[in-house]
């Protein structure tokens, strides 16, 4: 049977263990919060990159200032994903934020008026980037106007001055 002194020592030990456990729980709480915060910041960066990429892609391929248009006597129709060598690709045209960089290229085709999307991309030094590969059509005209008959020939796989090519869009922060 324990005497009063031994009982007292055991109670002190209980209190000491409880304090140690509480301190450990504090540290666990700190770590958990830190981890959640880091995870949330990483997710936010990824979500932002996805949004910006989609927005730039949409603005690059559906834009009257950049893409070609076909005309007849009455109307003009936008041809999505169609580029001339002189298509003006600027930050404001494609909605690229100032803290982002991008590279847009079309295989076998030179874009002479691409001021916003011509940075050199290095995958080794960038972990967070988005690459979109898609098909485009190109015209050899210097302006964006394409004859409607020319566009219809392209759709119907007949001889046309419009050429289908593969384009690559890379966006990173």
């Amino acid at each position: 049977m324990l005497n009063k002194r031994s009982k007292g020592q055991l109670m002190v030990l209980d209190v000491a263990f409880t304090i140690v456990l509480i301190i450990l729980l504090f540290f666990f709480l700190f770590r958990w919060t830190e981890m959640k915060t880091y995870e949330s910041i990483s997710q936010r960066k990824q979500i932002e990159l996805n949004y910006v990429s989609q927005n730039v892609f949409f603005s690059l391929t559906n834009n009257h200032s950049i893409n070609c248009y076909a005309s007849d006597n009455n109307n003009q129709f936008l041809i999505t994903s169609c580029f001339s060598s002189n298509s003006p690709i600027s930050r404001v045209n494609i909605g690229l934020p100032a803290d982002y960089d991008c590279n847009f290229s079309i295989d076998g085709f030179n874009l002479t008026n691409n001021t916003a999307c011509s940075s050199t991309f290095d995958s080794a030094s960038n972990n967070n980037y988005s690459i979109i590969k898609f098909n485009v059509i190109t015209t050899t005209n210097n302006n964006l106007l394409v004859r409607k008959s020319n566009y219809l020939n392209n759709i119907l796989d007949k001889s046309s001055s419009l050429v289908s090519r593969e384009a690559t869009l890379v966006i990173w922060k």
């Binding site: 304090i19 949004y51 927005n55 009257h64 248009y69 936008l78 909605g95």
Partner: protein
């Protein structure tokens, strides 16, 4: 110095109470800071979603407006700015679209929590555009440009 057993017991109880109060105080501060950190993150996430979706909306609108220029139609489009909610309450926030940026500012615990994206707003819009969370932003054509109110 002689201290009776009764006196020693009282001192131990006082020290125990002191430690208990100290722990409760420290725990309370840490718990409050933890909740604050989590809530600020939640606010930032929601602000980001609002700012980025509004940016997409404005760019889509600008392209539709260009279509309208080609086909001579009127433009009328609406964007409902979402509310910013945290577990404890709904917060008031404001979105400001300027020429070179879109910013969301939320009032939380007497502080401003903001999220900014430095994107150039299409020049088809009159700027600044100011909207509060929960309100509807209506964009219409006005003198060859788009006005959002």
């Amino acid at each position: 110095m002689f201290i009776s057993k009764k006196g020693q017991g009282s001192i131990e109880i006082i020290i125990g109470i002191f430690f208990l109060i100290f722990f409760l105080y420290v725990f309370n501060i840490i718990a409050q800071d933890t909740v604050k950190t989590i809530e600020v993150n939640k606010i930032k996430e929601q602000e980001q979603e609002i700012v980025l979706s509004l940016s997409s909306f404005l760019y889509a609108g600008s392209n539709i407006y260009d279509d309208n220029k080609f086909n001579i139609l009127d433009l009328n489009m609406t964007y409902k700015v979402p509310q910013i909610n945290i577990a404890s309450s709904k917060l008031s926030c404001i979105i400001v679209v300027q020429n070179l940026s879109i910013i969301a500012i939320t009032r939380y615990n007497n502080q401003n929590i903001s999220y900014l994206i430095p994107t150039q707003t299409p020049n088809t819009y009159y700027t600044p555009i100011i909207a509060s969370c929960g309100s509807e932003l209506v964009c219409v054509t006005d003198n060859n440009k788009i006005r959002c109110e």
